[in-house]
Amino acid sequence: MTRLAVPKTYKLYIGGKFPRSESGRTYEVVSSKGAFLANAAKASRKDARDAVVAARAAQAGWSSATGYNRGQVLYRIAELLEGRRAQFVEEIAAAEGVSAAAASRQIDAAIDVWVWYAGWADKYVQVAGNGNPVSGPYFNLSTPEPTGVVASIAPQGSSLLGLVSVIAPVILSGNTIVVIASEPYPLSAISLSEVLATSDVPGGVINILTGSAAEIAPWLASHADVNALDLTGAEALEWIDLQISAADTLKRVLAPVSGVPAATLDRIVAFTETKTVWHTKSLI
């Protein structure tokens, strides 16, 4: 007797929960050879709106955790990713049409990038901050602080490495993120959210939408409660228009890059604001 397969329902990840799209829509995800793989949720503008509300609600708590604490939470996600390696290999190999070895290399790279960024959580302030020379008996200190809620478009040509390369630098400083996953390769993004849901990262810090970036991104770009727009994977979109509507609410905007962005300190600092304080040198 043949056993009836039990396929997985791929849903969105918003506020630590896995809702279907509010619109009820799905789209077919196919392999590189055109074979059907799964139905993924096709997020609507209202899902994006809900995700921003969840991200905003989580932001105060996440940014008030110590950098050390955030780093530990990120390390733990890397540990859990290791444990799910087999599932990711299977998904990436099927979706991108690469060999198991190549898929495995992508996961290695993704975990390494994640760990690299995790290390910065309690260090970026010291490196990017400054003591400024001023005339007068004052200490003058500038430190980077998280900007708030960031909307990101993940690189379209990569399942996992591209996604983690945009998520990690945003959240480590205390931002929360609403990220639109790669439209052709969304399955690893939802598997990543299953990892996140069982880790220590609070619900709402990372929100993952699957579906059409061209449809959702304009709503996030013009949303008044989003503080920054990361257009990394928006190369193929009308991203100048996105920049223009983001300018209405003075968002920070990071321009698109080709392929997977390199891991740099600049990506972390791009989503921070500089706070400068004057403090008296009173005890001299």
């Binding site: 709106r49 905003r56 709503w219 013009s222 949303h223 008044a224 409660d225 989003v226 509507s245 209405d248």
Partner: protein, 334 residues
């Protein structure tokens, strides 16, 4: 509880017309306990059905503006100050400074001793009576004080310039079956709402449905409040959970509808507490329109008691006007 001898109640006009000239506690009890029981499943099903209507585009724009016009903008905290009441009044007069076309709310709702600050704030804005001033009275929210104190509380608020009085019923007496006591108290408070010139401040009777336990009790209390002379019946103080729910409000609207059919007189309804989103508020509008009719959707006959609802409505309104989502940075922090 049996009544050994007929206790005569205060001669309230409506009760006399409904129950006959010989107004006794026994007659009131027979009337209230003779009301048919509430079909709880049917009520909740009906309320849930009414909550599924889709209100979009121009209807939504109309609904949002109407919701604002129906709001009693409320602050009822122990930490209320004159300054807080002044800023509440400013917000009531100009809910959204970025859009002067935004309608004003119906009233501000404050504690009795805060009424002078509200009067003063309206006068200094050159807008006396642009919005009503509602004061909670009768030892709000518990209602646990002597009648003398409750009447003085009411009279003070009216003398200070309150246009509307929100009184609480004595839930202890109601639940013990002493309907006559509750009735007499409402009649007495109504009389305390009388101003020197012979006009009356509007009286809203708070049933505190969250403490009445059953739908049957809510129906009885609604009739009791109407018979004793309330201009409005109001669900809750907002200090007890559950506060306003859609089924309870539907049930009170049905009592108001039945009263209107019997007498032609229109009584107001005010759900209060727990209504925080435009989406919820629109469900209430639908319920009102479908139960008592659209003519009830005026500030004279329907109100929302709310504090955070207004900001959510303003955000939705900004979204409709501008075409993009707004955020909490674009409305006031209360």
């Amino acid at each position: 509880m049996t009544i050994s001898q007929p206790v005569t109640l205060a001669p309230a006009e409506r009760a006399i017309s409904m129950l006959g000239g010989d107004l006794t506690e026994r007659a009131l009890r027979l009337h209230l306990e003779g009301l048919s029981g509430v079909d709880a499943v049917g009520l909740e099903q009906r309320a849930a059905d009414l909550g599924t209507r889709s209100i979009k585009t121009t209807s939504k724009a109309w609904a949002l503006d109407r919701i604002i016009q129906l709001i009693d903008l409320t602050t009822l905290e122990g930490a209320d100050t004159g300054g807080k009441v002044r800023s509440l009044v400013a917000k009531a007069l100009t809910p959204d400074p970025s859009d002067p076309g935004t309608p004003r709310v119906a009233a501000v709702c404050v504690y009795g001793d805060m009424v002078p600050f509200a009067v003063d704030a309206l006068a200094s804005a050159n807008a006396p009576h642009a919005v009503n001033i509602a004061a909670v009275a009768t030892a709000f929210p518990s209602g646990r004080a002597s009648l003398r104190v409750k009447l003085a509380d009411t009279a003070d608020a009216v003398a200070a310039g309150a246009d509307e009085i929100d009184m609480v019923i004595d839930r202890g007496a109601f639940l013990s079956g002493r309907y006559g006591e509750v009735f007499d108290e409402i009649v007495a408070v109504k009389e305390a709402c009388r101003r020197e010139d012979g006009t009356y401040a509007h009286l809203k009777v708070i049933l505190e449905t969250g403490e009445l336990n059953t739908y049957d009790n809510v129906r009885r209390a609604s009739w009791l409040g109407i018979l004793a002379g309330g201009d409005f019946i109001k669900t809750s103080t907002g200090k007890v959970a559950p506060a306003a729910t859609l089924p309870v409000t539907l049930l009170m609207l049905e009592a108001v509808r039945d009263w209107h059919r019997l007498t032609g007189e229109r009584i107001g309804v005010k759900p209060a507490g727990g209504i925080r989103t435009s989406k919820d508020a629109i469900k209430y509008l639908v319920t009102v329109a479908e139960t008592v009719g659209e003519e009830w959707l005026t500030p004279q006959l329907f109100r929302f008691g709310a504090s955070s609802l207004l900001n959510d409505v303003l955000l939705q309104r900004q979204k409709l006007t501008s075409g993009h989502y707004s955020g909490p940075d674009y409305v006031t922090v209360d």
